[in-house]
Subunit: 257 residues, 2 copies
């Protein structure tokens, strides 16, 4: 099956796909939007990071596009030091995405490397030259035939990214259900009332994110993940209750990653 | 009074400060963190944009640092076409922050300009050369003695950024109160129960944002804006109720922007 992925090859999204799918053909795309619009049977999108928070663009595209969420997968972000050089002492410049450079301050400052910013960690691994090293995934190192001079070079170890797997619109079963709710008007206590539909039917929410509707400051929609299958009696009642307050778009059920 | 601002001069944060304060001395900082840590009587930080959503870094720093929210100010983001050239036909390259370039697709594509990315719109205005134009605020054009070849060149007109004004820790009165709540454990219906403290005391929430606590996927704190003064009876009761569920940090009261 074809799977659309935020490229180039060697991104952490690529790593998520490698771990999630057994047999698949990656289709590398230059943006999250392009990946979701691609003519493939599935798409993998970065959705939230344990340090940086929700990926606004992915959440907004779930609301805009007609897609089904069919799975989730967690990847521990372990940065490796990759180079054509075989000794750390030959390195003068360090290349990576600004976020990855920011997560590896210790090793950069200890060695006094000059920093060069790239648009992705995978691109840094592709473009690394003599006297340089890239900070990227081990997968990127393997794909570009680079030496892994060091692994797990990040300052802290609690950096995880959650990816969502988007499918072809088939309804599936699972432990969780993703929902977008978009109230047409706001009034005091509305969010509290909407959440009562879940708590009243014994359903926990594992994630809630407010995002702008693009209609100006003060207008929001909510992306929620409920811990129930969309076909369960509790969820069906909760959805019926929600519909009395808001437009409700059920994006799909899937198992925990 | 000294006010810390995300620089360089001519940023939209600078424009917010120019509009909000009557007499002040700007202190330009190279990051939001540096601005909040600066030894000034006030700080202006970008907080949410009507297209891109909440500014995660600002929200996280309100939780981490001991600051008081004393005001808010809304700025309509109007991009101008700035250049040393006096005719649009002499322009070959367009310089700006990737987000601003993305908001001005029509004019760029119509003219077939080559794009050059910079780290801020204000920096683009500082670095513009012969045969080039920058996309930045009108203020940046004035500060850098550039010609305003066109104004309001963005594709859509509903782009507003909300800035928060942070002060020196003095308790103030106002129509709104910012609060950070951080439950030490999660259980089904917890967010619903916490919000009942507000709805039960007749207080509306105008903004709610979940953010990662940095302790791994699945651990969140909430930033809220309640439509009540922190000294009002309703708010004091709501805070007392909240404290039965969670750690509560009241960041300050201020009037609507």
């Amino acid at each position: 099956m074809k799977v659309a992925i935020l490229g180039p090859e060697g991104t952490y999204t690529h790593q998520a796909a490698e771990e999630y799918f057994e047999n698949y053909e990656p289709v590398f795309c230059s943006s999250i939007k392009e990946a979701i619009e691609a003519d493939t049977e599935a798409t993998v999108v970065p959705f939230e990071n344990s340090l940086a928070g929700g990926v606004g663009k992915s959440i907004d595209l779930l609301r805009e596009k007609d897609v089904e969420v069919t799975g989730e997968h967690l990847v521990e972000i372990n940065h490796a030091l990759l180079s054509n050089e075989d000794d750390v002492s030959n390195i003068e410049k360090i290349k990576s995405h600004p976020q990855a450079l920011g997560q590896c301050r210790e090793i950069i400052e200890k060695n006094g490397w000059e920093e060069v910013e790239t648009s992705s960690t995978a691109k840094a691994a592709q473009e690394v030259e003599k006297g340089e090293a890239a900070i990227a995934s081990e997968l990127a190192g393997e794909l570009n035939d680079l030496n892994k001079l060091e692994t797990e070079i990040q300052d802290e170890n609690s950096n995880t990214t959650r990816f969502l797997i988007l499918g072809d619109g088939e309804v599936k079963e699972g432990e969780k259900t993703s929902v977008v709710i978009e109230p047409s008007e706001d009034y005091p206590g509305l969010l509290h009332s909407m959440l009562s539909c879940f708590s009243g039917h014994g359903i926990n929410l594992s994630y809630i994110q407010s995002r702008p509707t693009q209609d100006g400051i003060g207008h929001y929609y909510f992306y929620l993940e409920a811990e129930a299958d969309q076909g369960s009696e509790g969820f069906r009642k909760a959805a019926k209750c929600l519909e009395t307050y808001s437009e409700v778009d059920i994006l799909g059920s899937y198992n925990r990653g």
